[in-house]
Amino acid sequence: MLIPTVAGLSLLISSSLLPESIDTPDFTSEVRPILSRQCLPCHGPDAATRKKDLRLDMKDQLLGVIDAGSAESSPLFQRISSEDPELRMPPPDHAKALSNQEISILKQWIDAGAAWEEHWAFIPPVMPAAEWNTQQHPIDVFIEKKITASGLSANGPASAEVLIRRLSLDLIGLPPDPERVSRFIEEYSRDPAATWKLLIEELLASESFGERWASAWLDLARYADTKGYEQDGMRNIWPWRDWVIQAFDRDLPFDQFTILQLAGDLIDTPNESSRLATAFHRNTMTNDEGGTQNEEFRVAAVVDRVNTTMLVWQGLTAGCAQCHDHKYDPLSQVEYYQLYDFFNQSEDADLNSEAPLLKVLGNAEKLLLGDAHQQVEKAQEVLDQAARALVISDPEAAPAEAGALEEIAFSGKMPALCQTQVDGKKSEWPWVQAPPDAPEEIHRVIRQSAPEGQTRQVFFERSLHTHVAAQGDRYHIDARIVEPPEWMLLQVRLADPTVWEHRGYWGTGTFAHGVDGTESLLFQGELPTTGDWVHLVIDAESIGIESGKIVTGIAMTQQGGVIEWGGVRRESSQPTERDDLFSFSAFVDRWGEDPSDLFEPRIRQAIGAIHNKTDDEFDLETWWKQQISIEGRRLLIAQQQLLDQAMKRQVEVEAMAVSVPVMAQLATEKLRSTHLLRRGSYLSPGDPVAADIPQFLPAIDEASARNRLALARWLVSPRNPLTARVHVNRVWEQLFGTGLVETLEDFGTQGALPSHPQLLDWLALTWQQEDGWSHKELLRRIVTSDTYRRSSRRTPLQQRIDPDNRLLSHATRVRLPAELVRDQALAIGGILSPKKFGPSVYPPQPDGVWQVVYNGSGWKESQGEDRVRRSLYTFFRRTAPYPSMLTFDAPTRDVCTPRRIRTNTPLQALVVLNDPVYIEAAAGLARWSLAGSNDLTRAIQRAFQRATCRQATPQELKLLMDLTDQQKQVFQLDPASAHSFLESGRWTLEESQNPIDAATLMVIANVLLNLDEVLVRG
């Protein structure tokens, strides 16, 4: 048995509940529905089908065919009750006659004076007189009045266990964890009122709050991650979804929430956030199919914006008036296109690019960018410190001049970043003081000895400085042979792939590397004499060091013998620009831009002067050559590299910005001329129209520009009779399962009447006037009532008298919405990821669900925690939505869906029984329940408590224990099945755990997740 939730039904219930007087029929609840249904199709707002130009929806014309006080003499009554087929209304060939009951209602109403009322929803709400004392909650007073009148009595409060689960699911969309439940029950028993308030505040402040309420808003906004239509290509609009989540988290007042989404680009000071908000109306579909007319689908999008705006904020079904005057509500086709004009002036035009676009970072990327900024600042700071410390006297560090020799290996000075290896092993350098007879330039030497037949090398993996080889370069080696080796060798390393393959040697014999006689191993001469300091010279080009090559390393190698190596120097035929370390101009280029923090004022000034090409007395170059050590320069450069990396990261993060389609107004000279579209067709424009509000609604501010901003402000102005009512009704439906007006999507004359009109008005007015449109205040106001806290147990009397519980004598049990069914299971299984925001994710779904024409994109299953995020982050493809969401009544998001119709089907059972997500959740619940113990009874109790928030009764426990015993036997006889089931739940057991017990407990968990009590909010 389905809970009846179909449009029109509540009309019945309401009419049985509402009339205050038995004798005089109520115009709104009884008379108007008859006129509306039976008469308005031909005597209503639609001018095209109107007969005899008679409108019975208008007071004057209706009363014109009525003699108030006398039905018998009223033309209207005469016609509807006539036996003459020529006279009878509706005409017999057109429709059936009114029923006797309908005729009788109209007669009584006319006889009683034919009191007319405007349609209730178009009259501004009136604050009801306070009929409550300070001890009472106004909601309870409104509700209890009707319960008492019906002869029913209200239930008492639900148990603490039920209450905490109800409030958690309602406010944050997640169940409470077991520890929180225990604490709540304990505290609630001592002080229910204070404990309840505390829980409300805790949940309103929860990080999960915004996600739950955003989830409901997405149906209204027809949010999806694709463009719709045949191609149904991808669209980056998830940053808008995150905007909505944050808006609810931060409790952005609903009036602001409205203005930003409808016109955030038009406010006085638009910013990124306000422009992003306007993506609300870019959730319309875009048609990428080849050969489609962009204008046709642009018009379709504008129409969708009109319809959606009117549905979401006014609860009106304006869409009917797209093709003709509305049949029932006083909205003409002209007025429809006046509304249309508000939305017809935006730049978007069904382009494949979806322009206009706004580049924005997701929230996660914004955090990354913050980190990157910090890294940059930190690197900058360290660099500044390093720069201040770098003035060290270092007179030896002179640049190369033509003909001069410069050290490229060692000269007793150890380069800061050099590493050295001897025979492949890192070791201390065998430094010795240069002997007195050494050449003047030599301060220290390396004394290297090699056993006979063995090779020893001194590597400078990085040359003392990296330099660019020039034509005519020569390498000078100072060395003294103490004991003669078989041969000695110089190797040079280049920064290109030939690396070390450049060698010159003296002596006889072969090295294991290189080809003798080539540049990789070129004979230079006989071994020099033993005992004396010798000066050996190699022509760089002869061993392949061509001009322009970058020399990065030097090695001195010997086989056998003992040699004191005194160093390698480079002789260049011309002065050369070298890398940053040695190039003064590079130094100025690098530091000249902004030297302010780096150097003392005198130098700063000098750098500035050089950079600006002005003369200065201070010889900066000399200072640089003489005062800044090579080591210091290296430090500076290393720090600069860190800074460069940090800045590069910053740029990378900034590049993660995604382009979100947003609204943007056309320039004044490009504004479109809006026409009525005959039969709604873009090919048949009619008379021009200008933006305006339908007559039956309060006028828009004359002074304001007629644009989206004015429309948005009008929607949330105190004069508007509908916006607040429609939204509080929507929130009420989320908390009670049914709206005070059951037809969330229709507050017009065909919609249901409110079950508690005064309560609706009181809520709408206090929300605007006292709560400042705060969503959290509204929730606080409702959930603090007794009405919200009642037990949901239903008596046969309640069931008989009020089967839909419109009187709210008890809480309504509500099957959780699709997203919550899955989120709750993940939470109970302890596997729900708390990660918020970001691009939509691809949790596991069966193969073959995504087969979309002309669009090769596949479902790439997310890994890690993205598999188990809250459902509002699941990628939403319009032509193939996530299957289990559809099964639980989620809409396809093609158009605005104000209300989901709940169903109860076997396909839902199959999802929770078999969908791998739920099997994984069952495994999670079982794993948690065991918690290191092998006590199955205890585990079952724990699992039951976690799933339902309450203790199992002995009867329930026995039932589950019986199943446990049976299932254990089955798995014992067939352990492979147990293992297979564990695998289905992706559960890897610890060694101490018994697989039979674990799998059995998983079966129990699978049962628990499928319980009505778990799938339903009690």
Binding site: M1, L2, P4, V6, G8, L11, L12, R37, S99, Q101, E102, Y229, E230, M285, E289, G290, G291, T317, G319, D329, D746, T749, Q750, R793, P796, Q798, Q799, P803, P846, V849, Q851, V853, A880, S884, L886, D894, N904, T905, P906, L907, Q908, A909, L910, V911, L913, N914, D915, S977, S980, F981, L982, E983, S984, G985, A999, V1003, V1007, L1011, D1012, V1016
Partner: protein, 483 residues
């Protein structure tokens, strides 16, 4: 169920039913009673649907709809046009392009003759293309309509138009309307089953079998030929049918305790849904298992167990209607013959698609007839629109192809209540516009509903302020095709 639960169930069901039935007397029209009282998922026969009795005596009780997604060219299959031969390669007369919008054709296109021959078949002498030799054998069963037309010339809107009566998303599909109105005839199977071949779903996606604003229980259930035939039908690894039975028993027993405690009739409904789910786990794989068919039958259809093919789907369609599934919808992708390459041209792709579908369709008609099912099963074959008399020549393509064309196309029906060996309507000499008995999409829908015993103007659903129906605000019965 123990007697106490039974009593509770009875009292709730009775109470609720009485309550609604009492209200019905008030004459509230258009109320979806099925979703309130009788409709407890598609497994029920007790309260079949909105209409306790149809508006008229139905001529068909079930529908098989064969949709060639992409739209086959009528000139090559069902509507021979000798004049095209004479004008082949000539620039087309300007009245064909004046004021016309094409999806892809640019400039002044040339007439394209069909390279295929037609011949008369059966006693009726119906002219059918050489590409469809098997269908020719059953020509005397067909009611061919050469005068279909539509408003839409893009795939997704055109498909939505045919199946939901509106080119926009969000309306219920024909199968949903029918099952909502007529209910299900089978305890254990969905009333509305969808089978897809050609490896892609139709352009408009699942909306062409969606339930729109009708309760989602009426949406088409896509049965798949690989993996689970219905999503999540199979038990997870390690859980066999016995274990599943035990767990469902436990769920039901615990739910009964809850029902007694909370007094919520919806809980009792859930108990039933779990029972149906369990039964479907056996019944659906069984009906989907074509290996139970004789080798002869398999050969006639060209079906191969384990493969995913249109032939298999035709055989499945027969198995499903045999089990009284109300509406079986087949989609076969690959008919969008633009002629940009061999994979979408007239000389290669079209004959290939015809080979894949011709034999199985003929076999389906013969098989239904032989089993006595054709009398009250309506078989429908169609695309979503027609194709142009001109060669598309997109970007100067050398492959032959035709662009989208809404003004006329051919489709056929067979079986329950339609004329046999009959051709309805005609197009002009170039096959460009209709010259006789035009049939619009809403007219076709009205006629299909009529054959099922429903007055299309009286099957309505109140939503957002108005009564909606499949045929929107138009649609006229086409008496000329009724037997």
């Amino acid at each position: 169920m123990d007697s106490k639960t039974d009593l509770l169930l009875q009292s709730h069901l009775e109470g609720t039913r009485r309550w609604f039935l009492g209200r019905v007397g008030l004459g509230i029209g258009g109320l979806a009673l099925s979703s309130l009282v009788g409709d407890q998922g598609f497994g029920q026969t007790a309260s079949p649907g909105l209409l306790s009795t149809p508006h008229f005596a139905p001529r068909a009780r079930r529908v098989i709809c064969l949709h060639m997604a992409g739209s086959p060219p009528q000139q090559e299959l069902f509507d021979p046009k000798p004049l095209l031969k004479e004008l082949d390669g000539e620039p087309c007369p300007t009245h064909l392009i004046d004021g016309e919008t094409f999806a892809f054709i640019k400039g002044h296109p040339k007439i394209l003759a069909s390279p295929f021959q037609f011949s008369a078949h059966g006693e009726s002498g119906m002219e059918i293309s050489e590409l469809l030799p098997h269908l020719g054998e059953v020509a005397d069963e067909l009611c061919l309509i050469r005068s279909m037309h539509t408003d839409q010339f893009n795939h997704a809107p055109a498909q939505l138009f045919i199946y939901s009566g509106s080119p926009r998303f969000g309306r219920p599909s024909m199968g949903s309307w029918l099952t909502w109105g007529l209910g299900s005839m089978n305890q254990d199977l969905p009333a509305f089953v969808v089978l897809v071949s050609g490896s892609k779903t139709p352009s408009a996606g699942k909306s062409v079998w969606g339930s729109g604003f009708l309760p989602s229980v009426h949406q088409g259930i896509q049965c798949r030929t690989s993996g689970d035939p219905v999503l999540y039908l199979g038990n997870p690894g390690g859980i066999n049918s016995d274990t599943r039975r035990r767990t469902v028993d436990a769920i039901q027993e615990l739910d009964q305790i809850a029902a007694l405690r909370d007094g919520d009739p919806e809980t009792l409904s859930r108990i039933e849904q779990y029972e149906l789910a369990f039964r479907m786990q056996a019944s659906v794989p069984e009906v989907m298992d074509i290996s139970r068919e004789s080798p002869k039958t398999l050969e006639e259809y060209g079906a191969e167990p384990g493969k995913s093919s249109f032939a298999n789907n035709c055989l499945l369609a027969r198995r499903l209607v045999e089990q009284d599934v109300r509406f079986v919808q087949l989609f076969d992708w690959g008919w969008d013959i633009h002629g940009t390459a061999p994979h979408d041209d007239i000389m290669t792709q079209l004959p290939k698609k015809c080979r894949e579908t011709d034999q199985p369709i003929a076999a389906l008609l013969k098989d239904l007839k032989q089993r006595g099912l054709l009398d009250d099963t309506l078989v429908i074959w169609t695309g979503e629109f027609g194709r142009t008399a001109m060669n598309e020549e997109r970007n100067g393509s050398k492959f032959l192809g035709r662009d989208h064309h809404p003004h006329c196309y051919s489709m056929w029906m067979a079986g329950g209540g339609v004329k046999k060996g009959h051709v309805h309507g005609a197009t002009d000499e170039l096959g460009y516009r209709i010259v006789k008995d035009p049939v619009g999409v809403h007219d076709l829908q009205a006629t299909i509903l009529h054959l099922m015993g429903i007055d299309h103007e009286r099957l309505t659903y109140p939503y957002q302020g108005r009564d909606f129906r499949l045929t929107d605000v138009s649609g006229k019965l086409v008496p000329g095709i009724l037997a």
